[in-house]
């Protein structure tokens, strides 16, 4: 037996190599099965989610479809109004909004080369498809009848064209690969891109977890949460810039975990910085990515003791943020408040119990553009379990556990707080705004479920968590999404 540990044993190195090869092979097989599961799971949602049932999907699709037609989304379209409030009274000056739906004027502002007729025609095409696919029968707050002529008649003064063009450039280029498709065909292709991004996110989640947790049960548990959280899996099938910002953020989180684990080098970290910067041109909810990168450097600095470099990074991040905010301002982003009073009002609204309630319920599950929620009991059960696991994750962070990188878990906790601050600052609480921090939330949930048990019991705990996730997903799908979207229609 002694020869097993004998450094002079001529077979020790061979055995080591063999063990390494077995581990790599196991890991590869694990990844392949996991990604197969993710793809199949994504396909379930891709098949189930009815056309136009992704929140704000018509507006996002409209934006990308114009890009696909070759129109550049750089702004500078001619409009004769600013973001100022409309004036009333007999002496109110002429305002172009009197004669055009606001949603169409905002599209014109984004696309300098688009004519009013083309903008109206595209909205009409999408509205026709929505009516054909029973959109109004499914979304209760629309009233149940059709005959809408422009997007304002679904939600006034709303548009996706105030968003940065990152996602729409990608989706537009993707749609341009399939010319000649009608609106329905384009929508399906657009959703295929979301499916691919979902798979990529889950892959990033698996790699993130492997870096964060040396315990394999725990790492797999994190990846399972990422892949099987129903409101995330549902994003495999909807057209929305949230899907790209989530994938880019997942990549940033993955690199940060690898950096803290000592695996990622400078080049990889530079790629993460590039991804975080790119994400800022996709959606404002990506702003937390800069904070995550900075926090990673802070946590790492504890080891390298390079405070000066850290100071420079902080200054750099703030400069970038200031630059991006200026850019957002000139892109007419509604995320930026007009004045201090509006900003304070938003914070008050963001911290209100109704906003928090909406944030929680739309994270857990809500259907048909949030017009059909789960029952109170369902929210209490799932929300209670989620909170218990989060609390468990924080206990693991405080006390430490074998196979857990505490610095990564601390990064997760701080990253979630930073992400949570964004919807509060915006004053609007939707669960999908937390998706950029999905990996961090998953890490905390998985740690709360698995890390506190002895190592030998962790495979069972991971299996138990997988069972709970599978049950949650099955209930979401068969008691929530499918009955709501297909079983109950209004007249």
């Amino acid at each position: 037996m002694g020869c097993l540990h004998d450094p002079g044993d001529p077979f020790a190195r061979a055995r080591e190599r063999e063990r390494g090869a077995t581990e790599r092979s196991d890991r590869r097989r694990e990844s392949v099965w996991f990604l197969a599961a993710v793809l199949l799971h994504g396909l379930v949602y891709w098949l189930c989610l009815a056309p136009w049932m992704g929140e704000d999907e018509p507006w996002h699709f409209e934006y990308a479809s114009h890009v696909a037609d070759g129109h550049a989304p750089w702004g500078n379209g001619r409009v004769e109004f600013s973001n100022t409030a409309l004036q009333t009274g007999p002496n109110a000056p002429y305002d172009e909004r009197w004669d055009h739906p606001s949603s169409q004027l905002q599209v014109r502002r984004r696309f300098a080369t688009l004519s009013d007729e083309a903008i109206a025609a595209r909205q009409a095409q999408i509205l026709e498809s929505m009516e054909r696919h029973s959109f109004y029968a499914r979304v209760d707050w629309t009233g149940g009848f059709g005959g809408r002529r422009d997007f304002d008649q679904i939600q006034p003064v709303f548009t996706a064209t105030t968003h940065q063009p990152g996602y729409y450039l990608l989706l537009g280029a993707w749609l341009a690969l399939w010319p000649g498709e009608d609106i329905d065909g384009q929508l399906y292709w657009a959703r295929c891109l979301s499916l691919i991004l979902y798979v990529l996110t889950c892959w990033a989640g698996l790699e993130f977890a492997r870096a964060a947790f040396t315990d394999r049960s725990l790492a797999l548990a994190v990846a399972f949460v990422v892949a099987w959280l129903p409101m995330h899996a549902r994003q495999a099938a909807l057209v929305n810039n949230d899907v790209l910002v989530r994938t880019l953020s997942a990549f940033v989180w993955m690199v940060c975990a690898r950096r803290l684990a000592g695996v990622a080098g400078t080049r990889e970290f530079a790629l993460a910085v590039a991804a975080a910067l790119l994400a800022l041109f996709v959606k404002t909810t990506a702003a937390a990515g800069l904070g995550v990168l900075l926090l990673t450097l802070v946590l790492e600095t504890r080891r390298v003791r390079d405070a000066r470099r850290l100071f420079l990074y902080t200054a750099g991040a703030l400069l970038v943020l200031a630059g991006v905010i200026t850019y957002w301002h000139f892109q007419h982003s509604p995320v930026l408040p007009r004045n201090v009073a509006a900003f304070l009002l938003r914070i008050g609204r963001g911290l209100s119990s109704s906003a928090m309630h909406e944030l929680a319920t739309t994270w857990i599950g809500a259907f048909n553009w949030y017009s059909r929620p789960f029952s109170g009991l369902e929210y209490a059960s799932i929300g209670g379990a989620t909170l218990a696991l989060l609390a468990g994750g924080l206990v693991v962070l405080a006390r430490g556990a074998a196979g857990v990188s505490r610095s990564t878990l601390l990064l997760c906790a701080l990253g979630v707080l930073v992400q949570l601050a964004l919807p509060v600052l915006r004053g609007v609480g939707h669960g999908r705004y937390l998706m950029p921090a999905l990996l961090a939330i998953s890490a905390l949930l998985a740690a709360g479920a698995v890390a506190w048990v002895p190592e030998r019991s962790r495979p069972r705990a991971a299996l138990a968590l997988a069972c709970a996730l599978v049950a949650y997903d099955a209930w979401f799908l068969w008691a929530g999404l499918i009955p709501s979207e297909y079983g109950v229609w209004g007249a």
């Binding site: 098949l47 892949a227 069972c467 099955a474 297909y486 079983g487």
Partner: protein
């Protein structure tokens, strides 16, 4: 198949089965789902029963009507189900006693022996022998914009003229004003819109519902959708019979504008007041048919169509692959 895969697939199938069991609940044959409820019809007056003409295939056994209390002692309501329309043969009738009426916005169910009429067209109505304490809800078939919600003040004559501005849509079809004590059967009621710059009359809406209305959203319907309504400031002038009172708050009358829209589901022919049909609006109600109908679950699978088996197969395969991931990681033991 390894143990983890078996366990996960069993959990998934069991949960899905429980979920589908719950989704086996019956589904209404017809339901006007306008959530949130926005405009109440007002009190029901003697001789002016309120109802709806609708089509439904197969027998019907229950009708639910969304009712809201308007104040006062609860008064009984008479329910009548007829064939074809307001003048058709009486098929079923029932009395809703004050005890049956809700104390807040809620559905009231009227169950009866299943009945089927050859034409498939029915009419139900609610009548009252005195101004009713409860009102049904109305869904106007157009895009609504609440300018001012139902207020708490009765406004005097000074508000018969007010500014109408910041409507987010063109194609104005109707304005609903909160009015009490209006007898449009006795005298005409209208709203006229003027250009405040030139004083020119630009549009005129009339009350088509010729009946007494109290604690009601009164619909002033324009002859054709008025396209220039969007965001412009206009002056609105109300012409109401004597004794009619406008309800609102310190900033003006309670007001909802309705834009665009068109005919709804072909199963709905419109709301009725006495013998007249108002095809631009419906009551908020639902109709239940044969108790053995396919239910929510059956309808969901029928509408999923050919995708349904694929969804089931992929759902199981995805869970099985997840189990195989655990097995590949050698964690399932």
């Amino acid at each position: 198949m390894n143990r983890a895969t078996l366990v996960l697939v069993a959990v998934a199938l069991l949960t899905a089965a429980l979920a589908l069991l719950r989704a086996g609940e019956p589904a209404p044959e017809l339901e006007v789902r306008a959530i949130p409820h926005q405009a109440q019809f007002g009190r029901i007056f003697p001789g002016f029963a309120v109802g709806e003409v609708f089509r439904c295939a197969g027998p019907i056994r229950r009708i639910d009507v969304a009712l809201v209390p308007l104040g006062g002692e609860p008064t009984p309501l008479e329910f009548t189900l007829r064939a074809d329309g307001p003048d058709g043969e009486v098929l079923r009738s029932a009395r809703l006693s004050p005890r049956d009426l809700p104390s807040a916005d809620a559905w009231v169910s009227i169950s009866f022996e299943p009945v089927e009429h050859a034409s498939g067209q029915y009419h139900f109505s609610l009548a009252s022998s005195q101004p009713s304490s409860h009102s049904p809800w109305v869904r106007y078939r157009a895009v609504s914009h609440v300018v001012r919600p139902w207020g708490t003040k009765v406004l005097g004559d000074t508000v018969r003229e007010f500014e109408l501005a910041l409507l987010p849509h063109g194609d104005l079809r109707a304005l609903a004003l909160a009015v009490d004590g209006l007898d449009a059967a006795a005298a005409p009621a209208s709203v006229e819109l003027f250009d405040p710059r030139s004083g020119e009359l630009v549009a005129r809406g009339e009350v088509l519902q010729r009946s007494p209305q109290a604690a009601a959203w009164v619909f002033f319907t324009f002859a054709s959708p008025w396209s220039a309504a969007r965001w412009r400031p206009w002056t609105a002038r109300l012409q109401l019979p004597p004794n009619a009172r406008v309800i609102g708050d310190s900033s003006g009358p309670s007001l909802i504008s309705f834009h665009a829209g068109e005919a709804s589901d072909e199963q709905l022919a419109g709301a009725t007041v006495a013998a007249s049909v108002l095809p631009d609006r419906d009551l908020v109600f639902r109709v239940w048919g044969d108790i053995t109908n396919e239910g929510v679950r059956g309808r969901a699978f029928a509408r999923l169509g050919s995708r349904a088996p694929w969804v089931v197969v992929l759902f199981v395969l995805a869970v099985a692959a997840l189990g195989r991931t655990l097995a590949a990681a050698r964690l399932s033991a």
